[in-house]
Symmetry: C2
Subunit: 376 residues, 2 copies
């Protein structure tokens, strides 16, 4: 049974401006400074699990050329160019019906393009285990990340307790494992919780972060979509058969795969999770980037040729700059790309999207001097 | 009697790094963001006083092409390319003997290339008055700037008190004049003073900043050099006659015009000064640049497309950047040019030269992440 990997790469977002822009978003950037972009790292992560010709990328039409350039091995008919963003359900449906057309027996992993994984071998172990399971069962698997903090920014999946679920070494054979074997049946999906609720989830031990990484065989997901979202399913099936993308796709219901399939399927007892602890992060903000980068003795993290003096707790990403000198800053973001520069307190990063906006700035724009010579 | 202007443009210096570099120093930069570089502003300042063909520039050999580009009107034989820096006396001697060869009756102004003047009409009034004087007298004039603070970074000239010297409107005809007519005989030149002495100078009223702007007829300066520095004079005279620059110039004594001529000439009662108050600054550091630029309501000054948020007392110069966002900074310098970026407290600007150095940084250089994927 052949494995296929679907990479969802439609994200926009300006939280990393000027590093990422709507014209060139995060997933296509070497945000870790390791020489590979996030989508390339995502492909690398599946080496040995999925051959290059079995990768699929769903992205906005405007990013197709970037995808071709960054993933040269991928068949061009496997790049699904969305004429409009319709959330994850239509996106996944399109990919899975296309896969079924090619290979009705395909076994499929769906993953976002812009997450990072620190421990690739452990990631591969979990994914292989999940694929083994979906090869033999018509069930859906969602990878559940072991939470290490009461995070309020993620959704959670609740496992059915199998007696006590221990996070910790399971067997002497695998002393490094910190999560139990799965899969375990998913009792319910939970929305982003409050701080208090997130704390309870953390202590309970049966709650995992919903990473948006799904595993299933192609028959199972297409059947599930047909069952829970019959109209969307028939629209997509027709679209794939007729290739009438522009006519049909923008008309599809804008709905997430969680609402469309995961929650009803979980209620029917058809969703399982494999607990995982492979250093996953969605790199959703500068905070998480600072966490993932190596730090100097003053807790400064940098990508690029950056010189720190009298500075602490800074995160600097200079993609094009030849040299950056940072003196006397504590807890700042410095970001540079293509001649745009941001200097901003880390505590204010939620305002970066506003800073990036093209509209009239709240700030000041000054040109030049008040000298007579200088009068423009 | 024709007027000639000698522009001394040999300066190097990295106090404005990365804005200015030894390859492209301050005098060739549009540091005020007004569309003209400092040397171009210097030329502009003399329009109506000196025709383009009577300008002379003495600069390092490596800057000749920049001078040609920035001052297209200047005759190429008027660009004197120093094979080595020998301080101001040999530089001025070379220019003045060259001028004498062309026009023995020339009347000459010598000026640095990198100072700014805010009030050009007043500047022209003072220079014209000085040229009128040197056209008729074999004396040396040094322009004396009315001090507005007890500056310890400049040398001073002491005028002979003519009764009380009033700084303030002199006649009803020129209600805007704040300095008396000159010229006044210079009693002495004073080295950079201590804070206390500078305060006394300021209160005394007879002390003026030595701006390094000199006026004389060519006969007077060549005679003075021959009298006070006979060896240097004969070397330069021979050099100009034989054009043996490389052989002679690097061998000349390394000495300033102040030591070589001004001080002995003043002792002989041959030096005069015209008090001036035309908004002069040598733009020696970021402090003085911040003073000269217009400020927003939060005392931020910027050249370039700079947006300030929650920031005060900053000075930003972004020569190439398309957009710079500065949030949450108080009293910082931000400077960008050609892909090099400096962020530095204004109180630490004396360290900029160290920051710019190519040697192993005191700071930290980090590349990328600690992830397995990211291993380089």
């Amino acid at each position: 049974m052949a494995n296929h990997v679907v990479i969802m790469a439609g994200g926009v977002g300006s939280r990393f401006w000027p590093l990422s822009t709507p014209q060139f978003p995060k997933q296509f950037i070497d945000i870790l400074g390791c020489g590979r972009t996030l989508i390339q790292l995502t492909v690398d992560r599946f080496s040995g699990i999925c051959p290059p010709e079995n990768f699929w990328v769903v992205t906005n039409r405007s990013y197709v050329s970037i995808v071709r350039e960054q993933i040269p091995g991928i068949p061009s008919e496997h790049i699904l160019a969305e004429p409009a963003a319709r959330n994850t359900a239509p996106c996944i449906a399109w990919a899975c019906w296309s896969i079924r057309q090619e290979d009705p027996d395909a076994n499929v992993v769906v993953t976002p393009a812009d997450a990072v994984v620190m421990n690739t071998p452990e990631f591969q172990r979990v994914i292989k285990g999940a694929l083994e399971f979906t090869a033999g069962h018509n069930n859906i698997v969602t990878i559940g990340i072991k939470p290490n903090r009461p995070e309020t920014g993620y959704g959670y999946v609740k496992m059915e307790p199998k007696g006590t679920v221990l996070f910790g070494p399971i067997s002497k054979k695998e002393p490094n494992r910190t999560v139990p074997f799965g899969p375990f049946r998913v009792e319910a999906f939970k929305e982003k919780p409050s701080r208090e609720v997130a704390q309870q989830y953390l202590e309970d031990g049966n709650y995992l972060w919903n990473a948006g990484i799904f595993v299933w065989n192609v028959q199972t997901i297409t059947d599930s979509l047909s069952k829970y979202k019959p109209q969307l399913a028939s629209e997509i099936e027709k679209m794939v058969a007729t290739a009438a993308i522009d006519e049909i796709f923008p008309q599809c219901e804008k709905i997430s795969i969680d609402y469309a399939v995961m929650e009803p399927a979980a209620a029917d007892g058809k969703v399982y999770t494999c607990p995982a602890d492979f250093g996953w992060s969605d790199l959703g903000n500068w905070q998480s980037l600072h966490e993932k980068l190596s730090k100097d003795q003053d807790n400064n993290a940098a990508v690029g040729n950056v010189y720190f003096y009298d500075s602490t707790n800074c995160v600097v990403h200079a993609e094009n700059a030849r040299k950056v000198v940072v003196q006397g800053l504590d807890g700042y973001i410095v970001s540079e790309k293509n001649g745009q520069i941001l200097i901003c307190k880390r505590s204010e990063e939620q305002r970066i999207k506003d800073f990036s906006a093209e509209k009239e700035p709240k700030g000041t724009v000054l040109f030049g001097p008040k000298t007579e010579n200088g009068a423009k």
